[in-house]
Symmetry: C2
Subunit: 323 residues, 2 copies
């Protein structure tokens, strides 16, 4: 089998100019992996640009190497590297940089990756593209890491693993991170910026969800919701809804959390989560929705109280069937 | 210098009966480290008991080896091991087991440790006592680890490092944890049980704090509080107050978070936290309190609104002095 990271290394070492292209709405992994690679190539005296669709978001504005990051660059590069991106159209307005480069490379960890390239390396066992970049730099390119590069790769890994909490965290993830900490990076600062800082809108969403919370079936079912009015008053964006269903799920004794979000007049998007034994996909199927055992979703077109009542009844049946 | 872990190993290997004694209110580290050591000694066919003051708390009831955990045991053991405990009186009603043992050993990572023992090993560079136990088992006792022991040590480490977030996390912490993951432990389950599960009381406290939240000085100061009435209605315990000051601190744009908790009629315990540049110990000193740059505390005897007003004024002065 061809060692694709070796092929990628050869192309990169030969290139004089390299453009690095993370997906739109670049997150901690996309940006961290991109800048880490850029810093290493810069140290090898190559012309290198990281081109992003948007400015660097506030929660990642501590990343070093931002002088290498722009929204535009020269039209043609020797090598373009698509980073952490499974679909080339998700380069947005920057797609032409990829196609016009003499050599097109792609490095990713998403199983859905379908990018065409002169060499495409997809490793779904890596927690983050940053973990692959660590391998590429240390085992293939013989690049010398430094504190800035270590900080970028650490950021990539912690943001994609929820600080080593998600199931994509492996023994290798922790081993790589252990080596990154040897560079004495200020990791508590990274975590504070990347995870702990919260917009006032998000906090308002959390407050509304907690205020709306009701428990049923001896506290085994938690129901919470956001109305269209809540969403408008606090100018909530899709990002702000993330994780809200877990507030109910995390309450001691709760088995199923039901979270409703009013998408249109009397039209609700519903998330279901369970902890231990209820298969919530079965509940969702009863409403023409779907999902997995522990996470499912559905749409329901009813008035709020009727929707809650229907969902609670269906959930009670499922819980009692398991008891 | 004497290698104390070697001395401890020799005592343990010679012993026929061992009692392991974690501090009262045993947490994830105290219990995880204790049970890990107990499981390893049991595999060496020794009589071993972990004696705890209380039943194992709900959030740690997934720990294996609970058949080795009791509240009482035989009066005399060959060896007693004090675990994760810097003050022998914090063994509570079990202190006599320590004193009546033929050999008394102590293993801890707290710098304040003042326990007297035949051999006392205190390593303040270890994130958790569990990290020391890993070293003891693998490098000294040649104990074979298994999935159960790995799970206990992992629990010890993640609970004492806030899942690798706190500053006590080191390169070695991650390296040890990397090796623990090789035993294919269900670490997301540990994290869910140990961190994510929340009592209804705690959630009510969070709700009250968010509802009470006010911002001052262009959003640079966040003030929140719990009244005596809140504390009574929701039967809040000291544990429930932990971390509440961070709700305000984590809001985007906030530099100083002020959290007041009514301890008695018009008597408030106040926590101060800052993010980047305000030295909150200076604010606290103005009210005869104290602390560090980023975390300080004080008591104030005023009516709620007067207390907030005084604290906000003092904080504004400190912020403007820095601007």
């Amino acid at each position: 089998m061809v060692d694709k990271l070796r092929v990628i290394t050869d192309y990169l070492l030969k290139a004089e100019s390299v453009v690095i292209l993370p997906h739109i709405n670049a997150d901690g992994d996309a940006l961290g992996a991109s800048i880490a690679l850029a810093l290493a190539l810069k140290k090898m005296n190559k012309e290198v640009n990281v081109l992003t669709e948007e400015e660097i978001p506030n929660n990642l504005n501590f990343l070093p190497g931002q002088d290498l990051v722009n929204q535009k660059g020269p039209e043609v590069y020797d090598v373009a590297v698509n980073i952490d991106n499974g679909d080339i159209t998700r380069l947005g307005s920057r797609e032409h940089y990829y196609h016009s480069a003499r050599i097109r490379l792609s490095i990713d960890h998403h199983s859905t990756n379908k990018v065409e390239a002169d060499c495409s390396y997809v490793d779904t066992t890596s927690s983050a593209t940053g973990e692959i970049i660590y391998d590429l730099l240390t085992r293939y390119m013989n690049a010398e890491l430094n504190k800035d590069i270590a900080l970028c790769i650490y950021t990539a890994i912690v943001t994609d693993t929820g600080c080593f909490r998600y199931t994509n965290t492996t023994s290798r993830t922790l081993s790589v991170s252990s080596k990154l900490l040897e560079y004495e990076i200020d990791f508590p600062f990274v975590i504070k910026k990347a995870f702990d800082t919260m917009s006032l809108a998000k906090l308002s969403a959390i407050r509304q969800v907690i205020n709306s919370l009701r428990l049923y079936e001896d506290g085994k079912i938690a129901v919470s919701y956001l109305t269209k009015k809540d969403i408008e008053i606090y100018s909530l964006k899709p990002d702000d809804f993330e994780g809200l269903v877990n507030i109910g799920r995390n309450i001691e004794g709760v088995e199923v959390s039901v979270f409703l979000r009013e998408d249109g007049q009397d039209l609700f998007r519903v998330n279901l989560r369970s902890n231990d034994y209820v298969d919530v996909s079965k509940i969702a199927e009863g409403f023409n929705g779907g999902g997995h055992k522990r996470a499912a979703g559905l749409n329901i077109s009813k008035k709020l109280e009727e929707a809650i009542s229907a969902l609670v009844d269906a959930t009670i049946s499922e819980i009692r069937g398991n008891d």
